[in-house]
């Protein structure tokens, strides 16, 4: 068995093992889940290492897309009568996201040790979720892709619905319905593509290669259908309304996964599927995508500014930050912008993951997330405060941290993309306001929670972070600094693949 299949299979095995553990032994479930998510994480680190040092040139040289996949397993026949195959592969686009998934999954499982009810089921669902995420990032067959894309909804639904906050039932079903609604459009698009190729195939790479020969109308229809599915996941304004609900109600670790990985699946799928597959449609619609991205940036930031709940603030900041991705994706012929998308995806995964973890740390102790009730926490919790400030600064784009690099690349790329559409520089110019607003809501939050007078009688009992909590946030801090100080390795990791994909986008 190859490494990619095992990335999917090991969490699945872990799920079965966790379910078979005795009901009363909570620690057994916790540590089993940790082990079964640590193995994929080590594998993804090895994958990144191996790709970086030995395989990354492959992605640029080859003549056919199948040869640019540094790691391929399959195609194996699965349902031959419909030509459905088990076909997975990884290249520079998937490897960083696989690594992100591996890391955040392990961190989230560690962060979930505080779960006390139905521990077994919780970790079983979590491992199923991890398998689904890994699957999405490696699937090269539409059917397989769709299966993984959908299979994640089930554990997510349960994780929010069983272990969530007061309005969990509403949030869970809203998330499920929204995503399924998007997925059905993807299903139609997949079937349309399937029947419009000869011989009928569901191979994503073949479709990318043939994509530009499709009739314009079909390209538009498929592009828009895929876009709806992916945009709901990202989420792009105006499809974002499920996100704040899901985030606020979800337990901390689930929020981390949701923001850190699930949102990235939308942008990943755009880069992997719809962007290179339908170049003509992309060209026609790029402006509108940029507009949606710009609206998302400004809108998300403005709404964050008005939030009273810490977690909701971070949730809306995700809308804003994913808007950067959309803006950059619209500038599809700019290498900086497309690399910027990758940087923003990874960076947002690290930063928002960190912020959600920290909000969770505070919530565990104070049992509230309302900004107004805190104040002056810096006196009592100096280390926690400095870590929180660190992530806030990174998130608002302080130079030297990953947020700055990615935002810079996004704006430079999008600003220069006037060849996509003459309005691009203007949209970019307006979107830059989002950075200012980002600084405003994050600094305001920091000021109101950590500075000012401290209410000893109310919050005197708060304690500093424990070892487990350090273990969960420190890796994210290290990576944030690393990418911020020395972005070159990540850029080298992704550039060959992205250049190759951009050739398809600009056909």
């Amino acid at each position: 068995m190859g490494i990619l299949s095992s990335l999917i299979l090991i969490p699945l095995v872990g799920m079965v093992v966790v379910m078979m553990l005795p009901k009363d032994n909570k620690w057994a479930a916790r540590w089993t889940a940790t082990v079964f998510s640590a193995v994929p994480m080590v594998q993804t680190i090895w994958l990144t290492w191996d790709y970086f040092f030995t395989k990354r040139d492959m992605s640029g040289l080859a003549s056919s897309l199948a040869d640019t996949m540094a790691y391929v397993e399959g195609p194996f026949e699965w349902i031959p009568s419909l030509n459905i195959q088990f076909y997975v592969g990884a290249d520079g686009l998937s490897v960083p996201l696989l690594a992100l998934t591996g890391l955040l999954s392990l961190i989230s499982i560690l962060a979930s040790f505080g779960i006390k009810e139905r521990v077994k089921e919780y970790f079983a669902f979590f491992l199923l979720l991890e398998a689904g995420m890994m699957g999405v990032f490696v699937a090269l067959d539409f059917f397989l892709f769709y299966v993984f894309w959908e299979i994640m909804l089930v554990p997510m639904y349960f994780l929010i619905g069983v272990w969530g906050g007061p309005r969990k039932e509403y949030a869970a079903i809203k998330f499920f319905l929204y995503t399924l609604f998007g997925s059905i459009f993807m299903l139609v698009a997949i079937l349309l593509l399937y029947f419009n190729t000869e011989p009928h195939t569901l191979n994503i790479l073949t479709h990318i290669e043939n994509g530009s020969s499709l009739p314009y109308v079909l390209q538009m229809v498929c592009f828009i259908f895929f876009f709806i599915a992916f945009a709901i996941k990202v989420p792009v304004w105006p499809f974002h309304t499920w996100l704040p609900d899901a985030h606020v109600e979800a337990p901390t670790a689930v929020s981390v996964i949701l923001a850190g990985v699930l949102l990235k699946m939308g942008t990943y799928a755009m880069l992997r599927i719809s962007w290179p597959m339908f170049p003509d449609a992309l060209q026609s619609l790029a402006l509108w995508i940029a507009v949606l991205g710009g609206i998302g940036i400004i809108y998300g930031a403005l709404v964050s500014l008005a939030q009273k709940d810490l977690k909701k603030l971070v949730a809306y900041s995700s809308v804003s930050h994913m808007g950067y991705c959309m803006l950059a994706l619209a500038a599809y012929n700019s290498a900086q912008a497309i690399s910027g998308v990758m940087f923003q995806m990874v960076s947002h995964g690290l930063l928002t993951g960190g912020l959600f973890l920290l909000v969770g740390v505070l919530y565990d102790r104070a049992h509230t997330r309302e900004i107004a009730v805190f104040g002056g926490l810096g006196v009592k919790l100096p280390i926690y405060t400095s870590i929180m400030v660190f992530f806030s600064m990174a998130s608002l784009g302080l130079p030297g941290m990953s947020g700055f690099i990615s935002e810079f690349m996004v704006f430079v790329g999008a600003f220069g993309a006037s060849s996509v559409h003459p309005y691009m520089p203007y949209i970019t110019g307006i979107s830059v306001l989002g950075v200012v607003l980002g600084a405003a809501y994050l600094l305001r939050m920091v000021q109101r929670v950590f500075l000012g007078p401290f209410d000893m009688s109310k919050w005197g009992g708060l304690t500093e972070m424990n070892i487990r909590e350090y273990v969960t946030v420190v890796p994210l801090m290290v990576l944030t600094l690393w990418i911020g100080m020395y972005p070159k390795p990540l850029n080298n990791l992704v550039s060959a693949t992205l250049e190759n994909l951009m050739e398809y986008m600009a056909r």
């Binding site: 349902i79 959908e150 079903i173 459009f185 079937l191 029947f195």
Partner: protein, 503 residues
């Protein structure tokens, strides 16, 4: 004149004969033991179904009684579905045969087997009259079964309602069949198909009105059997009132029988009239409207139901709509997708009803709000039910998802290959959008079981047969979702390819 007797080929009918005899044995066994047969008679009936299945597997393909009785891939495939459904329905009826219908166990199980025999005849009949007889043999035992709790008002109401509606629809169907006979001069489906196609081409104005009448009466008759709107109103009441295993059997086996009848009369017999260029009335469009409204009505009305059985009744209306989408796709995927969908639907629905029956026996309630906290008291049943509900919703990688995928693939192929059938894109659109609605009410059950207030639900004890049924349901749902290939290969032998050749 040299008169030749038709080839009987009686051995082709062996499965039906075995099951028929077995039904008599079951009946008399209960009498012979002076109504004290206990659960033994149930095991006996299950064994009979199993043996019939084995016999069926070893009975070859061919034609008997001239061309009136055929055993082809479609017949065998659907007979398998009927037998599986009967097996699972009997398995989930051990609770009620133990407590509630102590004095009529033999009749209960015997009637169920007779009904199954009727379905099997129906699947093999290649001629309108034997098809009609098969359909009657299917439904008449079901009238009695629906009213089997004779002290329960709802059950009696269900029985009467089903009887009236069933008789009415049979009459309509028969009326339509008589028109078809008048138009074509034959009751043999293949001959009828040829003659009708010829008459459509040659003296079209003369036959037009009669043909329209025939189509409408037949569609109404079959529409009642399949509970397609606007002929669906009976379904929720009957499903709610009938004993739960009977409801399960009705919703799966009887529906599959209706589908076979539809496929035989409409898809095979009236093939030529599917095309609006040839026919005075394009029955494809008509059925398309019925299918679309079935998906909308079924799914939307299911949302408001608080009774599990009523909810499943509406959902079964919706599923009939999805299946009709596949039926309308007259290509090599069409009937195969119908077969697969039915197969997947069978596992999930029979399994769910088995769980519902268990809960009903224990708590006396099939109301969804009473399922609160069920996941804690009976985790296995809750997980099983969740998996099967998700399959009905169409969440991959469960069998129900592949069924939907297959059906919509067939429809999209049809819509894309023939500009006349572009309206099928709309049907696909309706189907997919309503399947999002479906998620809401299926998830509502899951929500109640898992997230809801933890009411004191007693632990549900289950018997071995019920456990078997639920396991078959879950395993079938999962295995055929991951490896649909086995069934797809089988289903795609359903000979649409030779049907499609226009005479």
């Amino acid at each position: 004149m040299d008169f030749q007797l038709p080839e009987y080929n009686l051995q082709l009918m062996l499965p039906e004969i075995v099951l028929f005899v077995w039904a008599l044995v079951v009946l008399s066994f209960d009498l012979a033991t002076k109504r004290k047969s206990g659960s033994a008679v149930g095991y006996l009936a299950m064994a009979g179904v199993l043996i019939t299945g084995i016999v069926l597997a070893f009975t070859g393909h061919g034609q008997g009684f001239g061309q009136m009785f055929v055993a082809d891939s479609m017949a065998v495939f659907f007979k398998m579905i009927f037998l599986c459904a009967a097996f699972m329905a009997i398995g989930s009826s051990f609770g009620i045969t133990k407590d509630k219908i102590v004095n009529h166990r033999g009749e209960f199980l015997g009637l169920m087997l007779f009904s199954t025999v009727g379905m099997m005849f129906l699947a093999s009949s290649n001629e309108l009259l034997s098809l009609y007889v098969g359909l009657e043999l299917t439904t008449i035992p079901l009238f009695a079964l629906a009213a089997f709790f004779k002290d329960d008002k709802l059950s009696v109401e269900a029985g009467i309602k089903y009887l009236v509606v069933g008789a009415f629809s049979s009459a309509l169907l028969l009326y339509g069949i008589s028109f078809l006979y008048g138009l074509s001069g034959s009751t043999d489906l293949l001959l009828m198909r040829l003659n009708l196609a010829a008459s459509a081409l040659m003296d079209y104005p003369k036959v037009a009105m009669v043909f329209v009448l025939a189509t409408i009466t037949i569609l109404a008759g079959l529409g009642f059997k399949l509970a397609l709107p606007p002929f669906h109103q009976w379904a929720p009441d009957v499903y709610q009132g009938a004993p739960t295993p009977v409801t399960a059997f009705l919703s799966v086996a009887s529906k599959a029988a209706g589908l076979v009848a539809f496929a035989k009369i409409m898809v095979i017999g009236l093939f030529a009239y599917y095309d609006p260029f040839v026919a005075p009335i394009d029955w494809g469009m008509l059925v398309g409207i019925m299918a679309g409204s079935a998906m909308i009505v079924g799914n939307v009305l299911a949302v408001r139901q608080t009774n599990m059985k009523r909810m499943l009744a509406y959902s079964s209306i919706a599923h009939a709509g999805y299946i009709m989408v596949g039926m309308l796709a007259m290509n090599e995927l069409g009937l195969a997708s119908v077969g697969f969908y039915m197969f997947a639907y069978m596992f999930a629905n029979m399994g769910i009803f088995a769980v519902v029956a268990l809960i009903e026996e224990r708590t006396g309630s099939a109301e969804i709000p009473d399922y609160g906290g069920f996941s804690k008291s009976s985790p296995f049943l809750a997980v099983s039910m969740t998996i099967m509900l998700l399959s009905l919703t169409g969440i991959p990688p469960l069998a129900g998802f592949f069924g939907k995928f297959y059906v919509f693939a067939a429809a999209i192929r049809q819509a894309g290959s023939d500009p006349v059938h572009q309206w099928m894109y709309w049907l696909v659109g309706v189907g997919l959008l309503t399947s999002v609605v479906a998620l809401y009410y299926y998830a509502n059950v899951i929500r109640t079981m898992y997230f809801g207030a933890q009411t004191d639900v007693p632990r549900i004890e289950f018997t071995a047969p019920a456990l078997t049924v639920i396991l078959i349901g879950v395993i079938g749902t999962v295995v055929f979702g991951l490896m649909p290939n086995v069934v797809v290969e089988f289903a795609s032998q359903i000979p649409i390819s030779d049907m499609i050749i226009l005479p």
